[in-house]
Assembly symmetry: C2
Homo-oligomer: 203 residues x 2
DNA sequence: TGCAATACTTTCGACTCGACACTATCAAAT
DNA sequence: ATTTGATAGTGTCGAGTCGAAAGTATTGCA
């Protein structure tokens, strides 16, 4: 009996993490709801602002957000209806669609991160961020999902004098695309510990 | 232009944390949905399994989960309808209600943490847990919420030869209650860095 | 006895979500 | 060229969440 209640309180780290995530999810969600957007729209908007041109399709958004295509389709349509995103053909595959942010959408996406959800010392912020990245990676791995890392940390990324190149899709990459999220991302080359590749040394 | 895209990718730690929380919330939520319960019900159930008798009221659940009382009232009713919780009078105040888990409810709550959401080395698990705790505390503090820590880490907690005692409510505490969550919790005594008080030395 | 505050419930409309069915397109085998 | 099956996306449906607002019962204070 004592053992039972003791176990309930001093539970495993995994359970404790799950409980903290419960609370965090709600704290975070209610905070985001404060803006004009609802949480699902805010999440999709943030993703679209950070994903490269190969990764702004409904399917990619659905994978990234762990939602179904049907749900994401509605969310993206509502973003388009609000003038924050624009739908267009996605590439050579005529089934594919792509959603690009409009200038208004980019402005709203920029405003979202201006609203501080939490106020911690900078060093703790980085600790927390690294831990969250570990956690996301662990959960993604546990269910066989995709990593959605930054293009330039991918094992298909090639840099040359003429510019960057993706060996998987066999296409040239614009310079700024190498720091965007890619749905095809596979970790492998450098930056294993930090696949989003946000290191120092600007430029 | 380059600065803009570079900024989008290498954003502030605060924004990065927000984005990670988006993804984490969805990963966590869909994982919980896999059981028979939906996320809100799972969160409430987990809380009820860990809160002491003063803290299992609809108002406390609402505060803990950052939801409104109306929403929580429905969630708790649905838990009761499923036979996982039982509603009863909450104490001397006849307005107050209390929801206790039934044996089935405790079983389901136990099964929830048996399903591993993430698989990381133990040391990383603890790092992640500590970071999440910091984050929750920071977000709670930023919006003036309550800490909901464990009873025995509260500044109103008194230990004596006859047993534990709460100086705020002026009631004796059963032994196992001191390791449960309390809505009246105010950090202050020991364990500032770890207000959930899950230290070693297991009885 | 009022009167305001509190604890909780109920109802309402907007919305999310997953499941499912559906169309369009592609790719590969025949 | 046709068939077959997989894939990308959309539309619809019901269950459920959410916050807001109104309502009830109770408490405590004047």
């Amino acid at each position: 009996m004592v053992i039972l209640t003791r176990y309930q309180a001093c539970m495993t780290a995994a359970h404790e993490i799950a409980s903290l995530l419960d609370r965090l999810s709600r704290l975070h969600g209610t905070g985001r709801r404060a803006a004009g957007l609802n949480p699902a729209q805010a999440s999709a908007l943030d993703y679209l602002a950070r994903a490269n041109r190969f990764s702004r399709t409904p399917s990619a958004v659905a994978d990234y957000l762990s939602a179904t295509r049907g749900t994401v389709s509605q969310t993206l349509k509502s973003l388009a209806a609000k003038g924050l995103a624009q739908e267009g053909p996605g590439g050579s595959d005529r089934r594919s669609r792509r959603y690009d942010l409009t200038p208004q959408g980019q402005a709203v996406a920029g405003a979202l991160d201006a609203a501080p959800q939490v106020d911690l010392p900078a060093s703790q912020m980085e600790e927390v961020r690294d831990a969250l990245q570990q956690l996301v990676r662990g959960m993604i791995a546990a269910r066989g999902g995709r990593s959605f890392g930054l293009c330039r940390s991918c094992r298909h990324h090639r840099a040359s004098a003429q510019g960057a190149h993706c060996a998987l899709l066999d296409v040239p990459l614009r310079d700024e695309e190498t720091t965007q999220i890619c749905q095809e991302h596979e970790p492998g080359r450098t930056e294993k510990a930090r696949p989003d590749g946000c290191d120092a040394g600007g430029e």
